[in-house]
Symmetry: C2
Subunit: 481 residues, 2 copies
């Protein structure tokens, strides 16, 4: 046996090396470097700050947290405050905090059940029932450190080796391809159709499935992002039903990634869960189907990314699989309790008639209208740029415009060994301090180029961000045309 | 290609199935079931509550959180409170909260740098320098959801397949064997010597190494728990140096799991980091060595398990490996921000002379003395039981007594298909409502039996818990002798 070696680039696990995550990749590392240089020398760059449009991180760009959930969390952090009458919190805030404290043995400083706090799982079950009209059971609900942790966990459970594939949309959110790579599994990408607003056709699904099988990798599941990230489409009931029937025919577990379900700016959101249960109940079809429903406090109008709270509901899985999921969660003991409680506060907000309702509702609706305005403004602005085409943003927090890059720019990128759209984004960063993510990080039709930007810059900053992008784009095109 | 199948026990990943985590295994599921039955019918069992001694979860058993860190966290959850002068918080609480808010863009609701907040990493670096006398650098520090997440991550990076092994102590904390199983790697267990208070001999290390190599699995690293879990020993500088030299000779990355470093009841704690840096600096030896230092807010006197805060420092790893670590963390974006800040508050407590110092110090010292009293009481009590032998608890939160089980009990256990010590623990649970973990969950010399109990029951409950164990043990022995 050869001698042991230290851990270096040549000896780390190939699965780890294979995994990529462009949203926080090279561009972000460069952005952080620039930020440091700007601190030391504010004149070092032709801009005075770095604007992170690479990631759906609303609070970082100035979005304020909602009052009600944060007040409850403050009381859980410091329960002695509950008795402080000079605090000025409304009574439903105090009542909710007291209810959690009564039901959480040891408070937020104790490990919970590895599956998550029972009281929060009850709140999630009630939310799912109210949303879809079908009951849910706390035994099927698992609380996780954001939805990402649930995805990584379920992928690790499902994929054994390169002969197991997971179907993911192209473009996709790269958490999925990274999770697949970490298991040594295979990506089976199905293309969304940009020309029809990133719709999903049955042909595209079947093509991707067949190709994966031809290559020796059997798809075990299919990821559906609705609303789409980075693509912003919201699927209709008919589209969801078509996907579901395709999945069912091929026994594919559906990952319904619905973390943007309250970020809806036109059309309306229907959950995969409702579509499935409608078929099983109203249409009385005996449709065996495994469904993983995902949701998170990071997006929506809460935007509580840093709290790392999320949940999944498992439908159609037997006890033995749920026990495996429980065991995997138990190895790291439990997800963080503040994130768990934040899930409860998201799915069970103040109700009409309760003292905190009015403020909560005002905060919620003003945020959603602002996001809608920003989405529309960004899309129309980008569509005015030469060679840029941007689909409507019906939901989620991103636009994903295509850019027609001049031959000379493509050559330049190749000469320095990076993807052409990564070159475009790097130039945008170096010239304007704006961080976007190249389309190559999400996947795209060969020969096309895109970038993703969030719609999150604050309204008062948005004009200057868009102006900077325009100026940069015109310059870039004039140099490389 | 065969047809796809739904996910069930026969199709889940074999690595997942292989992983075991007894600390929250079958016994805990049974305990939760009993708790539910007790709620419905308080007469259903010969005890009125379930006492969880299976896990180091101090707050669950009544330990109060420290005042200073929780007040700061409340202000971060609800920054509007900072301006509330009627709150009654001391000025250093408010100052610390303001300092975090100034340095955390977007507050605790925003994703941080995937490596963790810079301000907290600076606090960790200062702590390590003060503790060991050698500087640390924030680029080497990574904040994680508890130390467990750091372990799982580093194991996934280091082990490729069954030909890669990780040396772990026997008995071990089962996070390690589970993490190895999830990667399809191999466990190379080295035995601690119970007869000398769970010491670690060079022979035992060499034997384990040789055996693993003989079996075709090359050890890549070695886990050292100090203070030991479940064994409670604290290694001397000489023992640590011997382990280090063994690791170095065989190019083994050292996992220094030191999450119990402030749970010291006799002898004193010296970090692996200090031992290594002393050799490299004072002894001027050119010792190349890779070291992973682990710490957590879950243990010590903070006991903040539910916040999921921890850190690791990497020593001797090159940039390319640190970039891989960063990438793995970035896939799940970042660890939870409350846990990150809790790490900062743990390593940077109120200093002498600051307003919160006195209360903090009082809370700290009374907790540590109480744990010391409980450790001594439990050990001496258990040693009085027939067939039970319990080593001194010098550190950490557990005792791991050996029990000589009568032949008849062993046969009975075999007849129902469980390990003899699991049978003992199950009977203890069913008769007294006390949850311990069988030695078979940690590993032990073949033919010996143990169980692990925490030293955490509150002092006012401890007598009754010990009394219940005694009565049960006597009964058990009289039935099965």
């Amino acid at each position: 046996m050869e001698e042991s070696e230290w851990i270096d680039e040549s000896t780390v696990s190939p699965h780890v090396k294979e995994a990529k995550y462009a949203v926080r990749g090279e561009l972000v590392l460069r952005a952080m470097e620039i930020e440091k240089k700007l601190l030391a020398n504010p004149e070092a760059f032709p801009f005075d700050k770095v604007v992170y449009c690479n990631i759906g991180n609303p609070h970082q760009l100035g979005q304020k947290p909602l009052t009600f959930p944060r007040q409850v969390l403050a009381l859980l952090a410091c329960p002695e405050l509950i008795k402080n009458e000079r605090l000025g919190f409304l009574c439903d805030v105090v009542e909710r905090a007291q209810k959690y404290l009564d039901k959480i043995p040891g408070g937020i400083g104790a490990y919970s059940n590895s599956q998550g706090l029972e009281i929060v799982r009850h709140e999630v079950a009630a939310f799912l029932e109210q949303r879809d009209g079908y009951p849910s059971h706390i035994d099927n609900i698992f609380l996780t450190n954001g939805a990402s942790a649930a995805v990584v966990l379920m992928v690790s459970l499902m994929l054994k080796d390169k002969h197991d594939a997971l179907m993911i949309p192209i473009p996709q959110y790269p958490l999925y391809s990274a999770s697949i790579a970490l298991q040594g599994g295979t990506v089976a990408g199905y293309y969304l159709d940009e020309s029809s607003g990133w719709s999903c056709s049955s042909n595209a699904l079947q093509d991707a499935y067949n190709e994966s099988v031809r290559n020796g990798a059997r798809p075990r599941g299919i990821v559906v992002m609705n609303p789409g990230n980075p693509t912003g489409q919201v699927f209709s009931v008919e589209e969801l039903e078509a996907i579901l029937r395709f999945a069912n025919k091929n026994r594919l577990v559906v990952f319904a990634d619905e973390v943007y379900q309250t970020n809806i700016y036109s059309s309306s959101f229907v959950s995969f869960r409702k579509v499935l249960l409608d078929i099983q109940t109203c249409k009385r079809e005996l449709l065996d189907q495994q469904l993983i429903t995902l949701h998170s406090v990071s997006k929506g109008f809460t935007g509580e990314c840093g709290l790392r709270g999320g949940f999944m509901e498992l439908i159609g899985f037997d006890e033995s699989v749920k026990l495996q999921v429980y065991k995997l969660l138990s190895i790291m003991l439990c997800s963080n309790l503040v994130g768990q409680v934040a899930v409860g506060l998201m799915v069970n907000p103040p109700r009409q008639g309760s003292p905190s309702y009015q403020l909560y509702e005002k905060e919620r609706s003003s945020l959603i209208s602002s996001l809608k305005r920003r989405a529309e403004k960004i899309v129309s602005h980008l569509n005015e740029l030469d060679g840029v085409r941007c689909s409507k943003v019906s939901g989620a927090l991103y636009t994903f415009p295509s850019i027609t890059l001049p031959e000379k720019a493509v050559k330049k990128a190749e000469s320095i060994g990076i993807a052409p759209d990564a070159f475009y984004c790097m130039e945008l960063l170096n010239n304007c301090g704006i961080v976007c993510v190249p389309g190559s990080g999400f996947g795209q039709v060969d020969g096309t180029f895109h970038f993703r930007t969030t719609i999150l810059p604050a309204e008062e900053d948005l004009d200057s961000v868009l102006e900077a992008i325009s100026t940069f784009h015109k310059n870039f095109m004039s140099i490389y045309r």
